[in-house]
Amino acid sequence: MSWMESLIDFVRKYRLLVALLVLGPPLIYLAIYFFAPFLITILYSFGFIGRRGVITWEFTIKYYQQALRWVYLKVFYNSVVLAAITTVGSILMAYPVAYFIAVKAPKKWKNLLVVSVMVPYWVDFLLRTYALMNIFTMLKMMFTYEAVIIGMIYDYLPFMVLPLYANLEKLDKSLLEASYTLGATPLKTFLKVTLPLSKPGIASGTILVFVPAIGEFIVPSMLGGVSVTTIGTLTWDLFLKFHNWWRGAALSILYIAVVLVTLIIYMRKVGELEI
Amino acid sequence: MEMMEKAEYITSEVEDMVVLRNIVKRFGKVVASDHVNIEIKRNEFFSLLGPSGSGKTTLLRIIAGLEKPDEGVVILEGKDVTNLPPYKRNIGMVFQHLALFPHMTVFENIAYGLRLRKFPEDEIKKRVYDALELVKMPPEVFAGRKPSQLSGGQQQRVAIARALVTQPAVLLLDEPLGALDLKIRQHMMLELKRIQRTVGTTFVYVTHDQGEALVMSDRIAVIHEGRVEQVGTPYEVYEKPRTKFVANFIGESNFFEGILRNGAVETSFGLIKVISDIQSGKKVVISLRPERIKVGKAAGDAENRFEGKIKEIVYKGDVLIVMVALDDVEVKVNVPTTHPEARKLEEGEIIAVGWNAGDEAGVFELEAE
């Protein structure tokens, strides 16, 4: 028992040291294997690091200029359009489902219905996209833009259903009843009560879908082949095919900048992100 | 550490079980305890009563050792425990939300403290069963259940059994009845009183409900903004409030302001005779309970007699609450429904109200603004 007491005494006395011992290892790990790599990426994008990782101390923005050339801007544009279509498509598919689970579904089914959406959420896109390849091959739809769009919605759908459901689940059902008793039709009630109250859920889902969809690689690459180019496929090619790390780094930093700006706007307007 | 272990016992049969001496506790800018001095006696049912946020829980947690005071001393059974952790103090605590361990059965919950004290297993079983009997929970039925399989009132009983089974010197209870329905709450009030008398443990009971405090307590400390406003028996704090706050917080009261001159207060609607030793010429406020005011003929020979129009009558079963306007002041009067004139009262009528000097709950000096 006395070792316990001395341990407790120690924790009391050296609070900061204990904090360091507890929080230090995870933070140091992330510093090395997560944050340092981003720093290195920034250095690459400005040309500070040359071939074979030699530090050159030559500052240049030429890689950014290259990344902002018309062909690349068009890719950026294509990616944003694709991500936007994906987001709208998945809202249209997800909202009724989320509403159904949260408000209408019989209680005993509820858990099963939610779990059935959570399971695909955690399965890697590679596997789920491969699953689609079977169907598209049968339908002779491989390497079409339609296939890419369907694939994107297919993969991202759970990311939209879950935050929407979480939001609608919290919705006080008596508000709907109050609206009915005040003479509103179900449609009016939906437009004036449910929809405005579920805005945070729509916003969360939009962030969870839109932001990663811009950089999506697996779907356009597997289902679109060479016919669809996005930031994701471009990055992949620059790195793993052409080994043009500098331009790739600049492109990636631009992408991250877009992501961060979107997130900051979101946080300011809506607040916490639910995952 | 060493020094604390050897802290002196003044006597093992000390009269004061809990002594708080000059306790100060701050949370940032908030002063949750402001130089609190309280002595709680052996076998006493002692309540800390005050509105929400007044600092009751903080005091209880300081006694328990869950919070360390910034200044002051905590003495339990004559022993300075200010720097001891909770598990080295001889206390039991019933938490506001009970804090029953959800992963343990009722039996394991109650046995928890005994196991830590390394009692033999058959002794543990005996004590746990006795504790369950004490709180009227048949052990054969409930010992094996999980807390989630109990009703609110039953969880309450288990929490009390768990806190008492180690036979602590003091049992601390933080608004334990707050979450219960009115009916069960009233029942549990009597139960708590019965349990306290049975085991004879000192109870320190935190509540914001004056009804609970008045019914159960031997003595009450009224807490306001971290300070002790008054310590006294239920009778004392109700009939002889020492401050305007106490008069207002406990029971209901009419308040009349005015200047005190020669044993009478000049108010906006007339002179009111009072009994008070406050200096002449001071601005004061009188506190007068609605049930102390007589109406109609009964008010005839009162030392203070006024007439006013009845603004409103509310029927409450045993009493009528009658609001009477005296000039710009409305006075609340409780008239028993058995009062001979009760049936004749009507809104809009003129009625006489009256009371004698000394009927007031108190006269309090107003601080100059």
Binding site: L27, K104, N111, L126, Y130, N134, T137, M138, F239 | T166
Partner: protein
């Protein structure tokens, strides 16, 4: 149920079908006797037989499992430490540390993957098992942190205080109350960490080197340019069965909390 509700129910059924039919098709055709897609000519286990005899698949399976298990253990330790520290320690700057721990979840995987590659190239790592593993851990720490922290945050502090007043010191309280009660959260975190690592593709693709292959990499390289086939269906079925089972247990655990 009104007509409107029925329509909504039907629509939902359609969406669930959309989510699960493609997966079912993969499973069904992994048992198809012939190679022809779209015609089920008879039940057969021969493609699983092929898998079983494929040495490359076995090595990749071992690699996937190896990385996933080590990733789970390390990220569980580091993630739980940080969650516990953030909830219990009384120190300044918590908001900032919390944000830092969240960043890996928010940053898109491909951006993280390529920065890891640049980092490895710059620091002279040989790409392979170690580089894949280090990257997976970095990502998983944050997920473990979020899951365990959510569990601890929903934890009534007065349970621990009750234990203290009943005579248990801090260490006993941690062992008897805190740890058992946060166990579901820790198990859920372990399951998530495992799936995220086991079927990960992008980060693995960027940080692996010649000679170190995992199961998703096999699927990728063989399915490139539309190469769908029953062997791949069988392999995908196996990986999905593992991932989905674990995800299912995780989902059940999380739902029970409510």
């Amino acid at each position: 149920m009104s007509i409107r509700d029925k329509v909504m129910g039907l629509y939902s059924a359609f969406v669930y079908a959309f989510l699960y039919v493609p997966i079912l098709i993969v499973i069904v055709f992994s048992f198809n006797e012939s190679r022809t897609l779209g015609h089920f000519t008879g039940f057969s286990l021969k493609w699983y037989q092929v898998l079983l005899e494929d040495k490359v698949v076995w090595v990749a399976f071992y690699n996937s499992l190896n990385v996933a298990v080590i990733t789970t253990l390390v990220s569980l330790l580091l993630g739980t430490l940080s969650a516990y520290g953030m909830i219990r320690l009384d120190i300044g700057g918590k908001g900032a540390i919390d944000s830092l721990l969240y960043v890996p979840i928010i940053i898109p995987e491909i951006a993280e993957a390529l920065s890891l590659l640049l980092f490895y190239k710059f620091s002279g790592y040989d790409l392979g098992w170690l580089t894949v593993l280090l990257g997976h851990i970095a990502f998983d720490i944050s997920f473990v942190y979020v899951v365990v922290r959510a569990r601890l945050a929903g934890f009534d502090r007065s349970l621990e205080e009750a234990s203290l007043t009943l005579g248990a010191n801090e260490v006993q309280t941690f062992l008897k109350i805190t740890l058992p009660l946060s166990m579901p959260g820790i198990i859920a975190a372990a399951l998530i960490a495992f799936t995220l690592s086991f079927d990960d593709f992008i980060k693995t693709a960027f940080t692996t080197g010649p000679g170190f292959q995992t199961l998703p990499l096999i699927i990728w390289s063989q399915s490139a340019r539309g190469g769908v086939g029953p062997e791949l269906n069988a392999l995908t079925t196996v990986i999905m069965a593992i991932s989905m089972t674990i995800a299912y247990i995780y989902a059940r655990l999380t739902m029970e909390k409510q």
